[in-house]
């Protein structure tokens, strides 16, 4: 059941792509613009006229079982070239004819994404953000920005599990209030101790955990937050022109991380409600999370692979908000030393000058 899906322009027959600028499908050849819904319906109608070739199988004898595990082979509908991808790829670009292709087969094996946040920012915005990322970093080697070579830039739909849930908290603190006054030659301090209990519930929505093991979790979390209110119902057409990954970490394994974050925020919120005590030390805390609905959504990420002097630097941009993060940049040791000495001389000089000033008073 491996099939490639591409959308033909009803006007000229060329392949149409999703355009992030207009949020519609656009034909790059005749500039016709189509609504996503309309084109999907049109395409479905066309497909329904042909019987599905569901018995088509891979020539198994040519591949060992272990090789089969991780890869898939497709034939491009446009040029007939063979495309080899790994099993988590859901959308890519044909290396021979540069046509966008969507692997329906890879998506069909699992849950279908319920929502998708379409790309709001294009490739040029990502390139501009990369250049901008280097600005204002005073300890970055001066040649880094000009020598850092962009190897690859790709728009990727990353699979995310979105967890919602209600957190129930029960916290106990030992809190004190202090009051002190003077009694003759004595300084009297009165400390009043309280047992402070706070409990209650709060709800969380759409806490994201990325479902792609290929992408580092800390990088994906650094790109947050995404605005889920801009998410739309998933349509395969949105994938056209971008890469997309299928999840390979299931919801059950991802829920732990979401609950951990929910607990942290719940403890924080209820601790803030303790009020004005001099000290408040938590002595007992219980947080139970009752998970509600889990959603499967695709979020847009621009990935930029670069290298500088043989070392790879990976950057990522939130395709919705433009938030840009990346691997730790190198520090110029000479610049570090010079700034250190300069600030040291300024602070030391100011202190020394203040000593002299104090003699004038």
């Amino acid at each position: 059941m491996a099939a490639l899906l591409d959308y033909k322009c009803p006007n000229c027959g060329a392949r149409v792509e999703f355009d992030s600028g207009t949020q519609q499908m656009k034909c790059p050849y005749c500039d016709s613009v189509f609504d996503v819904e309309a084109l999907s319906a049109h395409d479905e109608a066309l497909n329904n006229t042909k019987p599905d070739d569901i018995n088509w199988e891979l020539p198994e004898e040519e591949w060992t079982q272990s090789e089969m595990e991780g890869m898939r082979v497709y034939r491009c509908n446009n040029c007939g070239g063979e495309i080899v991808t790994d099993k988590t790829t859901a959308a890519t670009i044909c290396p021979y004819c540069d046509n966008p292709v969507v692997m329906v087969g890879n998506l069909a094996q699992d849950l279908k994404p319920e929502y998708i946040v379409p790309f709001q920012l294009d490739k040029e915005a990502a390139k501009a953000a990369l250049r901008n990322h280097f600005k204002g970093k005073k300890l970055l080697p001066s040649v880094f920005a000009s020598e850092n070579h962009l190897d690859e830039i790709k728009g990727l739909y990353v699979p995310f599990w979105l967890f919602g849930g209600e957190a129930e908290a029960d916290l106990t603190f030992n809190a004190t209030m202090m009051h002190s006054w003077r009694e003759g030659d004595d300084e009297v301090t009165e400390t009043t101790h309280f047992a402070v209990e706070r409990g209650g519930t709060m709800e969380f929505e759409n806490v994201p955990v990325d479902g792609a093991s290929k992408l580092p979790d800390d990088m994906m979390e650094s790109l947050e937050p995404y605005d889920f209110s801009k998410a739309v119902e998933f349509k395969t057409a949105y994938l056209s022109g971008y890469m997309a990954d299928r999840y390979d970490v299931d919801a059950d394994s991802s829920v732990e991380r979401a609950n951990q974050r929910i607990k942290e925020s719940t403890v924080q919120a209820f601790s803030d409600s303790v009020g004005t005590y001099a000290t408040a030390v938590p002595v007992a805390q219980t947080v139970n999370v009752r998970n509600g609905k889990t959603k499967y959504a695709l979020y847009p990420v621009w990935l930029l692979n670069t290298n500088w002097r043989g070392k790879k630097y990976v950057f990522a941009m939130n395709g919705q908000t433009g938030k840009f993060v990346g691997d730790e940049l190198p520090t110029d040791k000479g610049k570090f030393l010079r700034y250190w000495l300069m600030y040291g001389a300024l602070i030391g000089g100011a202190v020394y000058g203040a000593m002299w000033l104090s003699t004038l008073l």
Binding site: D170, E187, E190, T192, F194, V196, E264, S265, E328, G348
Partner: protein
């Protein structure tokens, strides 16, 4: 980078200038006088000791820009230690400059009392705590009968209290060392800007609006503790006292302090 070097040079130049100016202000020429800085009426010192202390006192007075002197007596003629010392100071023409600035230590062997009298500018510069600090430098030696040592400590102490403060190379190096230590903070903050990937903490941006319900809210009183700390006042262990200032019989303003040894 050129800019940085220029700034650094400017600052260094400024401090070297300050250091030179300060080094020059320490000396002041004293008017010629006809009395000794050391008057040993109770005969506690040998002649050579007296000569050495005299030289020491002359040099110290010159450096400090104020008269630093000592008198020893066996009897105060019925006067209080304070009055006796103040009067001695006024009647014998101690002090430098128009305001007769100086400091005089009086030792009375008959009553085993001592008094420090300050006059003129010195009286204003010496606070009670300065007098206390000066006393502590020589009191133990005085009690032990090491008079030469006690007077030597007194002259040195009075000089260093009166000398205008100067900050030399040691302070400059100390300041720069401290500056370098402190500047590690901003430089490491700059270095931190090169890092942009961090794990998220919490899920605060995903809290459903107004979904927090506080269903349990108890603040129970447990117990109360009271802690008393006695604030020790500074007491002179030689039962002496230091005055804030007073007018002597001849109408001159004096400061000072003293006690028994």
């Amino acid at each position: 980078m050129k800019k940085m070097r220029t700034w650094f040079g400017l600052f260094l130049g400024l401090f070297l200038t300050l250091a030179l100016v300060a080094a020059g202000t320490g000396t002041k020429v004293l008017a010629a006088r006809n009395y000794n800085h050391i008057f040993d009426g109770a005969n506690l010192l040998t002649e050579s000791e007296e000569r050495e202390l005299e030289e020491l006192a002359v040099a110290a007075s010159e450096e400090a820009g104020a008269d630093i002197s000592v008198i020893t007596v066996n009897d105060m003629g019925g006067k209080s230690a304070m009055d006796f010392t103040d009067d001695w100071y006024d009647e014998n023409g101690y002090g430098v400059g128009e305001d007769n600035s100086g400091i005089l230590l009086m030792i009375c062997m008959g009553t085993r009392e001592y008094w420090i009298s300050t006059c003129g500018k010195t009286a204003y510069e010496f606070s009670e705590s300065d007098i206390d600090r000066l006393e502590n430098r020589f009191l133990s030696e005085l009690s032990n009968g090491d008079y030469y040592g006690a007077f030597e400590s007194y002259i040195d102490g009075a000089k260093s209290e009166l000398m205008p403060r100067t900050y030399g190379l040691k302070h400059l190096l100390g300041s720069l060392g401290g500056g370098l230590l402190a500047s590690l903070v901003p430089v490491n903050i700059m270095k931190g800007k090169n890092k942009s990937i961090r794990r998220a903490s919490g899920a605060a941006s995903y809290i459903k609006a107004n979904s927090m319900h506080l269903t349990k809210k108890y603040d129970r009183f447990l117990y109360r503790t009271v802690n008393r700390v006695h604030i020790a006042r500074e007491h002179n262990n030689n039962s002496g006292g230091a005055g804030g200032g007073h007018i002597s019989s001849s109408g001159t303003f004096h400061g000072g302090g003293g006690g028994h040894f």
